[in-house]
């Protein structure tokens, strides 16, 4: 009896020990390529930080459980300056030299488009964040997903909102040589026209321009009912400030996704008062979910600065990847992980308020959709005022028709 017990105990111990050996703790490198310097760093750096923060949270919670193994994540981040060649080089380096199979980040459309053009041929999965150019998810690339909805998805909702406000003559001032800003305005105009409105002028500025008074002076002469500003945060902040300085007293709408801190570097809160930002329902403290509030607090504590509203796109990518790896049960088979991404429901940890399509986070094109929201600057903060009309399923069907 004793012998049998000993034998049984030994067998059990061996099995347990064997099991422990099999369930090794390993490290999985994931890559980030983003604009960490230059003009687009206002979007890229917070994204990179967000991935780093999510990884630390995941590791602290026990890592990623893939089959028998547990993986701790390690981030390798490279700066692409939002430049297509730099982004290509960075991704080549991640894949070829560092052996990375999962690449996150991608704040900006030009650089993202360059990588998207070859990623289908690589043994890797690409998770796009803030880059809003529509064509990124129209090519049916199986190993690419994107958390941010395309710009025209939001532009159409914004056009409807502004038309409902009763504005008929809208002047546009934007970085219109940037493709996704132009597509936002096109979709905006289409909806405005349906309500009998019109865009009276389309004035453009460069991303490095800071004095927009000539365009604003022209706009003032046209006496529009409202102005629409689309562009990066800093030039947009100058426009809002200069519009006040020039005495333009009409509602100001925008599409910028800048945080309070980013705007207050250029304009005063008084100059910003009443400005609308019509964008995906990104992180704004006053409208955030529990996850959003926690994200804001943790990010601020870790990096000493508030997160930009669009940065959770990258944070959410990281959690989406974690769940996809666990669902696929592999870190080697990138096709299986890419397929798992397309099949997954919305993870509980995400910050943005995604609208599922057929119960899934990403549609067949690899595109996720958030709701769109109207935010207004009130007393020094972006305040969520209302949802904008957003039909994710209809847009997803439309996206599938584009070649």
């Amino acid at each position: 009896m004793t012998k049998r017990l000993t034998f049984t105990t030994l067998t059990a111990m061996m099995a347990l020990t064997g099991g422990m050996v099999m369930a090794e703790e390993k490290t999985l490198d994931i890559g980030v390529t983003d604009a960490l310097t230059g003009g687009a760093a206002v979007y890229g750096l917070p994204q990179s930080n967000a991935v780093q923060m999510a990884v630390e949270e995941i590791n602290a919670a026990g890592g990623v459980k893939v089959g028998e193994d547990t993986y701790m994540l390690n981030v390798i981040a490279y700066d692409d300056k939002a430049n297509p060649t730099e982004a290509t080089n960075a991704v080549r380096k991640l894949i070829d030299r560092d052996g990375v199979k999962f690449i996150l980040g991608f704040c900006c459309s030009g650089a993202t488009g360059a990588v998207a053009s070859f990623i289908a041929n690589e043994d890797a999965v690409m998770l796009v964040g803030n880059a809003a150019e529509r064509s990124i998810t129209t090519k049916e690339i199986a190993n690419l997903t994107r958390t941010r909805p395309p710009a025209d998805y939001t532009g159409a909702a914004a056009g409807t909102f502004v038309a409902q406000k009763g504005h008929k003559k809208v002047a546009v001032l934007g970085a219109l040589d940037v493709g996704f800003y132009a597509s936002y305005v096109d979709a905006f105009e289409a909806e405005l026209k349906k309500a009998g409105g019109e865009i009276v002028t389309r004035e453009s500025f460069g991303l490095k321009d800071r004095d927009m008074s000539p365009q604003l002076t022209k706009i003032r002469e046209l006496q529009p009912d409202a102005i629409l500003v689309v562009g990066y945060v800093e030039p947009a902040a100058f426009i809002y400030r200069q519009a006040v300085e020039l005495g333009i007293d009409v509602p100001r709408y925008g599409f910028t996704s800048g945080s309070e801190e980013q705007f207050l570097r250029v304009a005063t809160s008084e100059q910003m008062e009443g400005v609308w930002d019509l964008r995906p329902t990104e992180l704004t403290l006053l409208s955030a979910s529990e996850n959003g509030v926690a994200y804001h607090a943790n990010y601020t504590e870790k990096f000493g600065i508030a997160p930009s509203p669009s940065s959770p796109y990258a944070y959410d990518q990281t959690y989406a990847l974690k769940h996809a790896l666990e669902a696929a049960g592999t870190v080697e088979d990138t096709a299986a992980v890419a397929a798992a991404l397309r099949e997954m429901p919305i993870p509980a940890e995400v910050v943005m308020q995604y609208l599922p399509v057929d119960g899934k986070m990403f549609d067949a094109n690899g595109q996720a959709y958030t709701s769109n929201g109207a935010f207004q600057w009130q007393g020094g903060n972006w305040v969520f005022v209302q949802d904008l009309p957003s039909d994710a399923a209809a847009y997803s069907a439309f996206l599938s028709t584009i070649d």
């Binding site: 297509p84 070829d96 030299r97 030009g110 053009s117 070859f118 040589d177 493709g179």
Partner: protein, 319 residues
Amino acid sequence: MKLRVSHILYAAALVGFILLPQLITVKYYLHLSVLALVWVIAAQGQNLIQGYTGYVSIVQAGFMGIGAYSTTLMGLHFGLPVWLTILLAPFVTALFALFAGYPSLRVKGHYFAIVTLAFNLVIFIVLMHATDLTQGEAGISGIPKPGREGGWLDFANREVYYYFVLIIAVAMTALAALIVRSRIGQTLIAIRQNETLVGAIGIAAWKYKLFAFVTSAMYAGLAGALYAHYQSFINPEIFGLAQSLDAILAVIIGGSGTILGPVIGAFVVVFLPEYLRFADSFRLILYGLLLVLATIFMPRGIVGVVGQLWARMAGKATR
């Protein structure tokens, strides 16, 4: 023909380039080598106008853009085969260069540099705003590779593309050497040394300058076409002012007015920023600092420094 040390060095370098893909274990470096070879072609063109003729042109990346977009658009809209569009791209670029060069070359020195800089800006703005044609900032993706799918040579394979670009880079370098050694090349050097004197002896210097400018643009157009079909994606950002300055730097760092200089310089401007990635956000500051120091302390470029060292060593040996 007498066999000189330089000939042995050229042969050794060529053997090194041929063996490179076999020596490289990480394909990322092969990718950078392809880009560097593309830049060798662009820099050889830049060297003709800047190094040999003495006119600093700040439009080389703009001309690369014209080459890249012309090969892409001819393929997309007219269904021309990739080989043909690559061949035609330098000639399309030459037309633009002829148009730009005629007025630009009426001015000299800094004024010429500023006029060409303005042309680069114009090219960039047109590429950005002619969205119906160029798709603006979003860029054009899916640009096909040369050859047929499943054909004898798979140009999607980076090694194959490397050898393809290497052959063209060697041919264009040899062509540049031939031009420099010809009567035309000697006239270009004479213009660099003393343009007034060249005019005084009855040579129409403007014709030679225009030749150098247009040829330089053709080199850039070819480089742009090769870049487009390699990356399969182009947008205007790639052909901006910063890239034109890279072409100038490649010539200065490598050795202005030498045949080997642009080859070395092109590899430096492609590889150095990549090697400096360890410095994170200080990378570009470090890159800029290194280039400033190199320009100050090596005005004749790497080829000049090596040449001086070689001469000293040879001098000691003969003493």
